[in-house]
Symmetry: C2
Amino acid sequence: MRIVESPHDMQRICESLRLAKETIGFVPTMGAFHDGHVSLIRAARESCSQVVVSLFVNPTQFGPGEDLTKYPRMSEQDASLAEKAGVDFLFAPTEEMMYPKGYVTFVEVERLTKVLCGASRPTHFRGVTTVVAKLFNIVKPHKAFFGQKDAQQTLVIRKMVEDLNMGIEIVEMPIVREPDGLAMSSRNRYLSLEERKEALVLYRSLTEAQRLIDNGERDARRIIESIERTIRAAPHAQLDYVEVVDAWTLEQLRELKGECLIALAVRIGTTRLIDNTKVNV
Amino acid sequence: MRIVESPHDMQRICESLRLAKETIGFVPTMGAFHDGHVSLIRAARESCSQVVVSLFVNPTQFGPGEDLTKYPRMSEQDASLAEKAGVDFLFAPTEEMMYPKGYVTFVEVERLTKVLCGASRPTHFRGVTTVVAKLFNIVKPHKAFFGQKDAQQTLVIRKMVEDLNMGIEIVEMPIVREPDGLAMSSRNRYLSLEERKEALVLYRSLTEAQRLIDNGERDARRIIESIERTIRAAPHAQLDYVEVVDAWTLEQLRELKGECLIALAVRIGTTRLIDNTKVNV
Protein backbone atom coordinates (compact mmCIF):
# COMPACT_ATOMS: atom_id res chain seq x y z
CA MET A 1 0.00 0.00 0.00
CA ARG A 2 1.27 3.43 -0.92
CA ILE A 3 0.42 6.47 1.18
CA VAL A 4 0.03 9.65 -0.91
CA GLU A 5 -0.26 13.11 0.62
CA SER A 6 -0.31 15.49 -2.33
CA PRO A 7 -3.52 15.90 -4.36
CA HIS A 8 -1.39 16.58 -7.42
CA ASP A 9 0.58 13.33 -7.04
CA MET A 10 -2.60 11.36 -6.36
CA GLN A 11 -4.21 12.82 -9.49
CA ARG A 12 -1.18 11.95 -11.64
CA ILE A 13 -1.15 8.39 -10.32
CA CYS A 14 -4.87 7.91 -10.96
CA GLU A 15 -4.56 9.42 -14.44
CA SER A 16 -1.84 6.84 -15.20
CA LEU A 17 -3.93 4.01 -13.76
CA ARG A 18 -6.81 4.98 -16.05
CA LEU A 19 -4.50 5.15 -19.08
CA ALA A 20 -3.24 1.67 -18.13
CA LYS A 21 -6.91 0.52 -18.30
CA GLU A 22 -7.12 -0.22 -14.59
CA THR A 23 -10.52 0.19 -12.91
CA ILE A 24 -10.42 2.42 -9.85
CA GLY A 25 -12.60 1.72 -6.83
CA PHE A 26 -12.74 4.57 -4.33
CA VAL A 27 -13.77 4.76 -0.68
CA PRO A 28 -13.76 8.31 0.73
CA THR A 29 -13.46 8.32 4.53
CA MET A 30 -12.71 10.53 7.52
CA GLY A 31 -10.63 7.75 9.07
CA ALA A 32 -11.14 6.11 12.49
CA PHE A 33 -11.92 2.93 10.61
CA HIS A 34 -14.39 0.33 11.82
CA ASP A 35 -15.90 -2.73 10.14
CA GLY A 36 -18.27 -0.48 8.20
CA HIS A 37 -15.31 1.07 6.38
CA VAL A 38 -13.74 -2.37 5.94
CA SER A 39 -16.91 -3.63 4.23
CA LEU A 40 -16.69 -0.73 1.73
CA ILE A 41 -13.01 -1.45 1.05
CA ARG A 42 -13.73 -5.15 0.54
CA ALA A 43 -16.53 -4.32 -1.91
CA ALA A 44 -14.14 -2.06 -3.85
CA ARG A 45 -11.46 -4.77 -3.75
CA GLU A 46 -13.87 -7.33 -5.21
CA SER A 47 -15.05 -5.25 -8.17
CA CYS A 48 -12.08 -3.05 -9.12
CA SER A 49 -8.45 -3.67 -10.02
CA GLN A 50 -7.16 -0.72 -7.95
CA VAL A 51 -8.52 0.47 -4.61
CA VAL A 52 -8.00 4.03 -3.41
CA VAL A 53 -9.10 5.11 0.07
CA SER A 54 -9.01 8.74 1.11
CA LEU A 55 -8.55 9.72 4.74
CA PHE A 56 -9.44 13.34 5.35
CA VAL A 57 -11.37 14.90 8.21
CA ASN A 58 -13.16 17.48 6.11
CA PRO A 59 -13.63 20.75 8.01
CA THR A 60 -16.27 22.18 5.63
CA GLN A 61 -18.84 19.53 6.58
CA PHE A 62 -18.72 20.40 10.29
CA GLY A 63 -20.88 23.27 11.53
CA PRO A 64 -19.89 25.72 14.25
CA GLY A 65 -19.97 23.98 17.66
CA GLU A 66 -19.81 20.52 16.08
CA ASP A 67 -17.13 17.92 16.85
CA LEU A 68 -14.45 18.78 14.24
CA THR A 69 -11.62 19.17 16.75
CA LYS A 70 -12.47 16.11 18.82
CA TYR A 71 -13.28 13.89 15.82
CA PRO A 72 -11.07 10.79 16.32
CA ARG A 73 -7.75 10.84 14.41
CA MET A 74 -5.84 7.59 14.46
CA SER A 75 -3.91 7.51 11.22
CA GLU A 76 -1.46 4.73 12.11
CA GLN A 77 -4.12 2.22 13.07
CA ASP A 78 -6.09 3.32 9.99
CA ALA A 79 -3.12 2.77 7.69
CA SER A 80 -2.53 -0.68 9.11
CA LEU A 81 -6.23 -1.63 8.80
CA ALA A 82 -6.35 -0.26 5.24
CA GLU A 83 -3.28 -2.25 4.23
CA LYS A 84 -4.75 -5.45 5.69
CA ALA A 85 -8.03 -4.84 3.85
CA GLY A 86 -6.16 -4.68 0.53
CA VAL A 87 -6.02 -0.96 -0.21
CA ASP A 88 -3.55 0.02 -2.97
CA PHE A 89 -3.39 3.77 -2.30
CA LEU A 90 -4.21 5.63 0.91
CA PHE A 91 -4.72 9.30 0.03
CA ALA A 92 -4.22 11.43 3.15
CA PRO A 93 -3.91 15.11 2.27
CA THR A 94 -3.59 17.92 4.79
CA GLU A 95 -6.25 20.59 5.27
CA GLU A 96 -3.99 23.21 3.64
CA MET A 97 -3.63 21.03 0.54
CA MET A 98 -7.37 20.56 0.16
CA TYR A 99 -8.42 24.11 1.10
CA PRO A 100 -5.51 26.43 0.38
CA LYS A 101 -5.72 30.10 1.33
CA GLY A 102 -8.29 31.87 -0.87
CA TYR A 103 -10.43 28.76 -1.42
CA VAL A 104 -13.93 29.88 -2.56
CA THR A 105 -15.66 27.15 -4.61
CA PHE A 106 -18.59 25.04 -3.40
CA VAL A 107 -20.85 22.40 -4.89
CA GLU A 108 -24.40 22.44 -3.66
CA VAL A 109 -27.24 19.97 -4.17
CA GLU A 110 -30.51 21.69 -3.40
CA ARG A 111 -33.75 20.22 -2.01
CA LEU A 112 -32.49 16.74 -0.93
CA THR A 113 -30.11 18.52 1.47
CA LYS A 114 -32.77 20.57 3.26
CA VAL A 115 -34.44 17.70 5.13
CA LEU A 116 -33.42 15.07 7.71
CA CYS A 117 -29.79 15.74 8.74
CA GLY A 118 -29.73 18.81 6.48
CA ALA A 119 -32.39 20.49 8.63
CA SER A 120 -30.27 20.22 11.81
CA ARG A 121 -26.93 20.70 10.00
CA PRO A 122 -27.61 23.39 7.35
CA THR A 123 -24.08 23.60 5.85
CA HIS A 124 -23.16 19.93 6.30
CA PHE A 125 -24.05 18.58 2.87
CA ARG A 126 -22.51 21.50 1.03
CA GLY A 127 -19.24 20.53 2.72
CA VAL A 128 -19.74 16.88 1.82
CA THR A 129 -20.55 17.46 -1.86
CA THR A 130 -17.70 19.95 -2.20
CA VAL A 131 -15.06 17.63 -0.76
CA VAL A 132 -16.41 14.58 -2.60
CA ALA A 133 -16.40 16.51 -5.90
CA LYS A 134 -12.76 17.42 -5.23
CA LEU A 135 -11.86 13.85 -4.29
CA PHE A 136 -13.64 12.47 -7.37
CA ASN A 137 -11.69 14.87 -9.59
CA ILE A 138 -8.42 13.83 -7.97
CA VAL A 139 -9.04 10.06 -7.83
CA LYS A 140 -11.08 9.73 -11.05
CA PRO A 141 -12.80 6.56 -9.83
CA HIS A 142 -14.96 4.24 -11.90
CA LYS A 143 -16.90 3.27 -8.78
CA ALA A 144 -17.22 4.89 -5.36
CA PHE A 145 -18.51 3.12 -2.25
CA PHE A 146 -20.65 4.60 0.53
CA GLY A 147 -22.43 3.12 3.55
CA GLN A 148 -26.19 3.02 3.99
CA LYS A 149 -25.81 4.37 7.53
CA ASP A 150 -25.44 7.77 5.83
CA ALA A 151 -28.31 7.06 3.44
CA GLN A 152 -29.06 10.73 2.80
CA GLN A 153 -25.39 11.37 2.01
CA THR A 154 -25.32 8.55 -0.55
CA LEU A 155 -28.46 9.91 -2.17
CA VAL A 156 -27.10 13.47 -2.29
CA ILE A 157 -23.83 12.28 -3.84
CA ARG A 158 -25.71 10.13 -6.34
CA LYS A 159 -27.69 13.24 -7.34
CA MET A 160 -24.54 15.35 -7.65
CA VAL A 161 -22.89 12.70 -9.84
CA GLU A 162 -25.96 12.50 -12.06
CA ASP A 163 -26.56 16.26 -12.31
CA LEU A 164 -22.91 17.16 -12.94
CA ASN A 165 -22.37 14.27 -15.40
CA MET A 166 -19.54 12.83 -13.34
CA GLY A 167 -19.92 9.38 -14.87
CA ILE A 168 -19.08 7.52 -11.64
CA GLU A 169 -21.01 4.50 -10.37
CA ILE A 170 -22.14 5.01 -6.76
CA VAL A 171 -22.45 1.79 -4.75
CA GLU A 172 -24.26 1.75 -1.40
CA MET A 173 -23.33 -1.03 1.04
CA PRO A 174 -25.52 -2.22 3.94
CA ILE A 175 -25.16 -0.88 7.49
CA VAL A 176 -22.66 -2.88 9.54
CA ARG A 177 -23.73 -3.31 13.18
CA GLU A 178 -22.13 -4.31 16.46
CA PRO A 179 -23.28 -7.73 17.74
CA ASP A 180 -25.96 -6.02 19.86
CA GLY A 181 -27.27 -4.00 16.89
CA LEU A 182 -25.67 -0.55 17.30
CA ALA A 183 -24.76 0.82 13.86
CA MET A 184 -21.00 1.14 13.58
CA SER A 185 -19.80 4.75 13.62
CA SER A 186 -16.54 6.52 14.40
CA ARG A 187 -18.58 8.63 16.82
CA ASN A 188 -19.45 5.59 18.98
CA ARG A 189 -16.03 6.14 20.58
CA TYR A 190 -17.39 9.25 22.27
CA LEU A 191 -19.90 7.24 24.31
CA SER A 192 -19.41 6.43 28.00
CA LEU A 193 -20.22 2.86 29.06
CA GLU A 194 -23.66 3.91 30.21
CA GLU A 195 -24.34 5.93 27.05
CA ARG A 196 -23.14 3.01 24.94
CA LYS A 197 -25.93 0.91 26.45
CA GLU A 198 -28.50 3.62 25.90
CA ALA A 199 -27.37 4.13 22.30
CA LEU A 200 -29.07 0.83 21.54
CA VAL A 201 -32.43 2.66 21.53
CA LEU A 202 -31.84 3.74 17.93
CA TYR A 203 -31.65 0.17 16.68
CA ARG A 204 -34.34 -1.01 19.09
CA SER A 205 -36.76 1.65 17.88
CA LEU A 206 -36.10 0.66 14.25
CA THR A 207 -36.58 -3.07 14.86
CA GLU A 208 -39.82 -2.29 16.67
CA ALA A 209 -40.90 -0.18 13.65
CA GLN A 210 -39.95 -3.06 11.36
CA ARG A 211 -42.08 -5.41 13.48
CA LEU A 212 -45.09 -3.09 13.13
CA ILE A 213 -44.61 -2.95 9.36
CA ASP A 214 -44.24 -6.73 9.14
CA ASN A 215 -47.59 -6.91 10.97
CA GLY A 216 -49.19 -4.73 8.31
CA GLU A 217 -48.84 -1.19 9.69
CA ARG A 218 -48.64 1.34 6.82
CA ASP A 219 -49.46 4.59 8.64
CA ALA A 220 -46.24 6.63 8.86
CA ARG A 221 -47.55 8.58 11.87
CA ARG A 222 -48.01 5.41 13.94
CA ILE A 223 -44.51 4.22 13.07
CA ILE A 224 -43.04 7.60 14.02
CA GLU A 225 -44.97 7.58 17.30
CA SER A 226 -43.69 4.12 18.13
CA ILE A 227 -40.09 5.25 17.54
CA GLU A 228 -40.65 8.43 19.58
CA ARG A 229 -41.97 6.35 22.50
CA THR A 230 -38.94 4.06 22.46
CA ILE A 231 -36.50 7.00 22.37
CA ARG A 232 -38.36 8.89 25.13
CA ALA A 233 -37.96 5.89 27.45
CA ALA A 234 -34.16 6.30 27.42
CA PRO A 235 -33.21 8.94 30.02
CA HIS A 236 -30.14 10.45 28.23
CA ALA A 237 -31.51 10.17 24.71
CA GLN A 238 -32.87 13.22 22.96
CA LEU A 239 -34.55 12.84 19.60
CA ASP A 240 -33.28 15.20 16.88
CA TYR A 241 -35.61 13.84 14.19
CA VAL A 242 -37.40 10.73 13.04
CA GLU A 243 -38.97 10.64 9.60
CA VAL A 244 -40.57 8.25 7.19
CA VAL A 245 -39.69 9.35 3.66
CA ASP A 246 -39.54 8.12 0.10
CA ALA A 247 -36.13 6.46 -0.25
CA TRP A 248 -35.36 8.32 -3.51
CA THR A 249 -36.93 11.77 -3.14
CA LEU A 250 -36.76 12.03 0.70
CA GLU A 251 -40.29 13.42 0.59
CA GLN A 252 -42.32 12.75 3.74
CA LEU A 253 -44.82 9.92 3.45
CA ARG A 254 -48.20 9.64 5.18
CA GLU A 255 -48.50 6.06 4.18
CA LEU A 256 -45.69 3.58 3.47
CA LYS A 257 -45.53 2.72 -0.20
CA GLY A 258 -42.71 1.54 -2.43
CA GLU A 259 -39.15 2.03 -1.22
CA CYS A 260 -39.28 3.90 2.09
CA LEU A 261 -36.54 5.16 4.35
CA ILE A 262 -37.12 5.37 8.09
CA ALA A 263 -34.35 7.58 9.44
CA LEU A 264 -33.58 9.06 12.82
CA ALA A 265 -30.97 11.12 14.63
CA VAL A 266 -30.65 10.98 18.40
CA ARG A 267 -28.40 12.73 20.86
CA ILE A 268 -27.04 10.42 23.56
CA GLY A 269 -25.52 12.85 26.01
CA THR A 270 -23.50 15.14 23.72
CA THR A 271 -23.03 12.56 20.95
CA ARG A 272 -25.30 12.75 17.91
CA LEU A 273 -25.95 9.33 16.37
CA ILE A 274 -27.93 8.40 13.27
CA ASP A 275 -29.45 5.17 12.05
CA ASN A 276 -32.00 4.09 9.47
CA THR A 277 -33.73 1.22 7.81
CA LYS A 278 -35.16 0.79 4.33
CA VAL A 279 -38.37 -1.04 3.71
CA ASN A 280 -40.02 -1.97 0.44
CA VAL A 281 -43.80 -2.39 0.80
CA MET B 1 -16.71 16.69 -38.07
CA ARG B 2 -19.15 14.66 -36.03
CA ILE B 3 -22.18 16.27 -34.38
CA VAL B 4 -23.07 14.67 -31.05
CA GLU B 5 -26.30 15.43 -29.17
CA SER B 6 -26.29 13.10 -26.20
CA PRO B 7 -24.11 13.94 -23.16
CA HIS B 8 -23.72 10.23 -22.53
CA ASP B 9 -22.42 9.54 -26.06
CA MET B 10 -20.10 12.55 -25.91
CA GLN B 11 -18.69 11.34 -22.60
CA ARG B 12 -18.11 7.83 -23.95
CA ILE B 13 -16.34 9.22 -27.00
CA CYS B 14 -14.09 11.48 -24.93
CA GLU B 15 -13.31 8.66 -22.52
CA SER B 16 -12.17 6.56 -25.51
CA LEU B 17 -10.12 9.44 -26.90
CA ARG B 18 -8.31 9.76 -23.57
CA LEU B 19 -7.66 6.02 -23.41
CA ALA B 20 -6.24 6.27 -26.95
CA LYS B 21 -3.81 8.91 -25.58
CA GLU B 22 -5.33 11.74 -27.62
CA THR B 23 -5.19 15.25 -26.14
CA ILE B 24 -8.55 16.96 -26.03
CA GLY B 25 -8.88 20.71 -26.62
CA PHE B 26 -12.27 22.12 -25.71
CA VAL B 27 -14.08 25.34 -26.62
CA PRO B 28 -17.40 25.79 -24.81
CA THR B 29 -19.71 28.20 -26.67
CA MET B 30 -23.30 29.41 -26.91
CA GLY B 31 -23.05 29.40 -30.72
CA ALA B 32 -23.64 32.36 -33.05
CA PHE B 33 -19.97 32.05 -33.99
CA HIS B 34 -17.81 35.03 -34.90
CA ASP B 35 -14.06 35.39 -35.38
CA GLY B 36 -13.57 35.40 -31.60
CA HIS B 37 -14.86 31.82 -31.44
CA VAL B 38 -12.81 30.89 -34.48
CA SER B 39 -9.63 32.15 -32.78
CA LEU B 40 -10.36 29.85 -29.81
CA ILE B 41 -10.99 26.87 -32.09
CA ARG B 42 -7.74 27.58 -33.99
CA ALA B 43 -5.78 27.75 -30.73
CA ALA B 44 -7.27 24.39 -29.68
CA ARG B 45 -6.49 22.94 -33.11
CA GLU B 46 -2.86 24.01 -32.85
CA SER B 47 -2.16 22.52 -29.43
CA CYS B 48 -4.40 19.43 -29.18
CA SER B 49 -4.95 16.32 -31.29
CA GLN B 50 -8.75 16.41 -30.92
CA VAL B 51 -10.93 19.51 -30.82
CA VAL B 52 -14.36 19.46 -29.19
CA VAL B 53 -16.66 22.49 -29.39
CA SER B 54 -19.88 22.62 -27.41
CA LEU B 55 -22.83 24.65 -28.61
CA PHE B 56 -25.40 25.19 -25.89
CA VAL B 57 -27.35 28.33 -25.00
CA ASN B 58 -27.25 27.77 -21.25
CA PRO B 59 -30.47 28.95 -19.59
CA THR B 60 -29.05 28.98 -16.04
CA GLN B 61 -26.66 31.84 -16.82
CA PHE B 62 -29.44 34.19 -17.94
CA GLY B 63 -31.29 36.16 -15.28
CA PRO B 64 -35.01 36.99 -15.36
CA GLY B 65 -35.67 39.62 -18.03
CA GLU B 66 -32.38 38.93 -19.81
CA ASP B 67 -32.06 37.93 -23.47
CA LEU B 68 -32.29 34.11 -23.24
CA THR B 69 -35.15 33.76 -25.71
CA LYS B 70 -33.81 36.23 -28.25
CA TYR B 71 -30.18 35.05 -27.98
CA PRO B 72 -29.17 34.26 -31.61
CA ARG B 73 -29.48 30.58 -32.61
CA MET B 74 -27.97 29.72 -35.98
CA SER B 75 -26.87 26.15 -35.67
CA GLU B 76 -26.42 25.40 -39.38
CA GLN B 77 -24.07 28.32 -40.02
CA ASP B 78 -22.30 27.43 -36.76
CA ALA B 79 -21.82 23.81 -37.81
CA SER B 80 -20.41 24.87 -41.15
CA LEU B 81 -18.03 27.41 -39.57
CA ALA B 82 -16.93 24.84 -36.96
CA GLU B 83 -16.20 22.26 -39.63
CA LYS B 84 -14.15 24.76 -41.64
CA ALA B 85 -12.18 25.75 -38.54
CA GLY B 86 -11.16 22.12 -38.00
CA VAL B 87 -13.46 20.95 -35.21
CA ASP B 88 -13.60 17.17 -34.70
CA PHE B 89 -16.71 16.99 -32.51
CA LEU B 90 -19.52 19.51 -32.20
CA PHE B 91 -21.42 18.75 -29.00
CA ALA B 92 -24.91 20.24 -29.21
CA PRO B 93 -27.17 18.89 -26.46
CA THR B 94 -30.74 20.00 -25.83
CA GLU B 95 -31.82 21.84 -22.69
CA GLU B 96 -33.68 18.75 -21.45
CA MET B 97 -30.51 16.66 -21.76
CA MET B 98 -28.42 19.12 -19.77
CA TYR B 99 -31.04 20.01 -17.16
CA PRO B 100 -33.47 17.10 -16.91
CA LYS B 101 -36.53 17.36 -14.66
CA GLY B 102 -35.48 17.42 -11.01
CA TYR B 103 -32.09 19.01 -11.68
CA VAL B 104 -30.80 20.57 -8.40
CA THR B 105 -26.98 20.79 -8.37
CA PHE B 106 -24.96 24.00 -8.69
CA VAL B 107 -21.31 24.97 -8.56
CA GLU B 108 -20.60 28.34 -7.04
CA VAL B 109 -17.39 30.35 -6.91
CA GLU B 110 -17.71 32.97 -4.18
CA ARG B 111 -16.13 36.43 -3.98
CA LEU B 112 -14.79 36.77 -7.57
CA THR B 113 -18.41 36.49 -8.78
CA LYS B 114 -19.79 39.31 -6.63
CA VAL B 115 -18.13 42.21 -8.49
CA LEU B 116 -18.16 43.64 -12.06
CA CYS B 117 -20.71 41.67 -14.13
CA GLY B 118 -21.63 39.62 -11.04
CA ALA B 119 -22.96 42.75 -9.32
CA SER B 120 -25.44 43.47 -12.15
CA ARG B 121 -26.13 39.79 -12.89
CA PRO B 122 -26.26 38.06 -9.48
CA THR B 123 -26.99 34.49 -10.67
CA HIS B 124 -25.03 34.66 -13.93
CA PHE B 125 -21.73 33.11 -12.83
CA ARG B 126 -23.39 30.34 -10.87
CA GLY B 127 -25.01 29.33 -14.15
CA VAL B 128 -21.68 29.59 -15.98
CA THR B 129 -19.66 27.54 -13.48
CA THR B 130 -22.42 24.92 -13.25
CA VAL B 131 -22.66 24.37 -16.99
CA VAL B 132 -18.90 24.50 -17.51
CA ALA B 133 -18.37 21.95 -14.70
CA LYS B 134 -20.91 19.69 -16.44
CA LEU B 135 -19.27 20.21 -19.85
CA PHE B 136 -15.80 19.54 -18.40
CA ASN B 137 -17.04 16.28 -16.88
CA ILE B 138 -18.57 15.23 -20.18
CA VAL B 139 -15.73 16.30 -22.49
CA LYS B 140 -12.80 15.57 -20.09
CA PRO B 141 -10.54 18.08 -21.86
CA HIS B 142 -6.83 18.53 -21.27
CA LYS B 143 -7.11 22.20 -22.23
CA ALA B 144 -10.08 24.56 -22.46
CA PHE B 145 -10.07 27.87 -24.34
CA PHE B 146 -11.82 31.09 -23.35
CA GLY B 147 -11.77 34.65 -24.69
CA GLN B 148 -10.41 37.64 -22.80
CA LYS B 149 -13.54 39.61 -23.65
CA ASP B 150 -15.17 37.69 -20.79
CA ALA B 151 -12.12 38.21 -18.56
CA GLN B 152 -14.04 37.77 -15.32
CA GLN B 153 -15.56 34.53 -16.64
CA THR B 154 -12.13 33.11 -17.47
CA LEU B 155 -10.88 34.03 -14.01
CA VAL B 156 -13.91 32.47 -12.29
CA ILE B 157 -13.50 29.26 -14.29
CA ARG B 158 -9.78 29.17 -13.58
CA LYS B 159 -10.60 29.44 -9.87
CA MET B 160 -13.22 26.70 -10.08
CA VAL B 161 -10.76 24.40 -11.86
CA GLU B 162 -8.08 25.07 -9.25
CA ASP B 163 -10.37 24.79 -6.21
CA LEU B 164 -12.16 21.64 -7.39
CA ASN B 165 -8.92 19.97 -8.59
CA MET B 166 -10.23 19.58 -12.12
CA GLY B 167 -6.73 19.30 -13.60
CA ILE B 168 -7.60 21.19 -16.80
CA GLU B 169 -5.40 23.86 -18.34
CA ILE B 170 -7.35 27.07 -18.95
CA VAL B 171 -6.10 29.15 -21.88
CA GLU B 172 -7.24 32.74 -22.38
CA MET B 173 -7.02 34.15 -25.91
CA PRO B 174 -6.94 37.89 -26.78
CA ILE B 175 -10.04 39.87 -27.65
CA VAL B 176 -10.83 39.79 -31.37
CA ARG B 177 -12.15 43.13 -32.67
CA GLU B 178 -13.98 44.39 -35.74
CA PRO B 179 -11.81 46.58 -38.03
CA ASP B 180 -13.13 49.70 -36.25
CA GLY B 181 -12.33 48.31 -32.79
CA LEU B 182 -15.68 46.95 -31.52
CA ALA B 183 -15.06 43.75 -29.56
CA MET B 184 -16.68 40.81 -31.35
CA SER B 185 -19.75 39.48 -29.58
CA SER B 186 -22.79 37.45 -30.55
CA ARG B 187 -24.84 40.24 -29.02
CA ASN B 188 -23.56 42.79 -31.59
CA ARG B 189 -26.28 41.38 -33.88
CA TYR B 190 -28.91 43.08 -31.72
CA LEU B 191 -27.60 46.56 -32.59
CA SER B 192 -29.33 48.88 -35.08
CA LEU B 193 -27.07 50.69 -37.54
CA GLU B 194 -27.05 53.78 -35.37
CA GLU B 195 -26.42 51.79 -32.18
CA ARG B 196 -23.63 49.89 -33.93
CA LYS B 197 -21.83 53.21 -34.45
CA GLU B 198 -22.39 54.29 -30.86
CA ALA B 199 -21.17 50.94 -29.55
CA LEU B 200 -17.70 52.10 -30.51
CA VAL B 201 -17.61 54.21 -27.33
CA LEU B 202 -16.58 51.16 -25.31
CA TYR B 203 -13.39 50.66 -27.32
CA ARG B 204 -12.81 54.40 -27.66
CA SER B 205 -13.04 54.92 -23.90
CA LEU B 206 -10.54 52.10 -23.34
CA THR B 207 -8.03 53.38 -25.91
CA GLU B 208 -8.29 56.82 -24.32
CA ALA B 209 -7.61 55.21 -20.90
CA GLN B 210 -4.65 53.37 -22.40
CA ARG B 211 -3.30 56.67 -23.74
CA LEU B 212 -3.53 58.24 -20.27
CA ILE B 213 -1.69 55.28 -18.75
CA ASP B 214 0.98 55.42 -21.47
CA ASN B 215 1.45 59.07 -20.50
CA GLY B 216 2.07 58.07 -16.89
CA GLU B 217 -1.39 58.27 -15.27
CA ARG B 218 -1.63 55.80 -12.35
CA ASP B 219 -4.65 57.17 -10.47
CA ALA B 220 -7.56 54.74 -11.00
CA ARG B 221 -10.12 57.47 -10.26
CA ARG B 222 -8.84 59.68 -13.11
CA ILE B 223 -8.95 56.76 -15.54
CA ILE B 224 -12.49 55.88 -14.50
CA GLU B 225 -13.57 59.52 -14.87
CA SER B 226 -12.09 59.67 -18.35
CA ILE B 227 -14.04 56.55 -19.38
CA GLU B 228 -17.24 57.88 -17.79
CA ARG B 229 -16.87 61.13 -19.77
CA THR B 230 -16.48 59.27 -23.06
CA ILE B 231 -19.52 57.08 -22.40
CA ARG B 232 -21.68 60.03 -21.29
CA ALA B 233 -21.01 61.74 -24.59
CA ALA B 234 -22.86 58.97 -26.47
CA PRO B 235 -26.61 59.71 -26.38
CA HIS B 236 -27.94 56.09 -26.28
CA ALA B 237 -25.16 54.67 -24.11
CA GLN B 238 -25.78 54.00 -20.44
CA LEU B 239 -22.90 52.92 -18.24
CA ASP B 240 -23.55 49.83 -16.13
CA TYR B 241 -20.09 49.83 -14.51
CA VAL B 242 -16.48 50.75 -15.14
CA GLU B 243 -13.81 49.52 -12.76
CA VAL B 244 -10.06 49.33 -12.41
CA VAL B 245 -9.21 46.13 -10.56
CA ASP B 246 -6.36 43.75 -9.89
CA ALA B 247 -6.38 41.31 -12.84
CA TRP B 248 -6.17 38.25 -10.55
CA THR B 249 -8.18 39.13 -7.45
CA LEU B 250 -10.62 41.60 -9.08
CA GLU B 251 -10.11 43.86 -6.05
CA GLN B 252 -10.60 47.56 -6.76
CA LEU B 253 -7.39 49.55 -7.15
CA ARG B 254 -6.81 53.17 -6.18
CA GLU B 255 -3.54 53.19 -8.02
CA LEU B 256 -2.53 51.07 -11.01
CA LYS B 257 0.12 48.55 -10.05
CA GLY B 258 1.10 45.17 -11.49
CA GLU B 259 -1.43 43.41 -13.72
CA CYS B 260 -4.59 45.52 -13.85
CA LEU B 261 -7.91 44.95 -15.56
CA ILE B 262 -9.96 47.90 -16.76
CA ALA B 263 -13.43 46.54 -17.42
CA LEU B 264 -16.73 48.11 -18.36
CA ALA B 265 -20.30 47.22 -19.25
CA VAL B 266 -22.49 49.61 -21.21
CA ARG B 267 -26.06 49.44 -22.41
CA ILE B 268 -26.49 50.65 -25.98
CA GLY B 269 -30.27 50.93 -26.26
CA THR B 270 -31.41 47.58 -24.82
CA THR B 271 -28.19 45.72 -25.64
CA ARG B 272 -25.66 45.20 -22.85
CA LEU B 273 -22.08 45.10 -24.15
CA ILE B 274 -18.83 44.49 -22.26
CA ASP B 275 -15.20 45.21 -23.06
CA ASN B 276 -11.92 45.39 -21.19
CA THR B 277 -8.22 45.89 -21.44
CA LYS B 278 -5.37 44.56 -19.34
CA VAL B 279 -2.38 46.70 -18.49
CA ASN B 280 0.81 45.73 -16.72
CA VAL B 281 2.45 48.71 -15.02
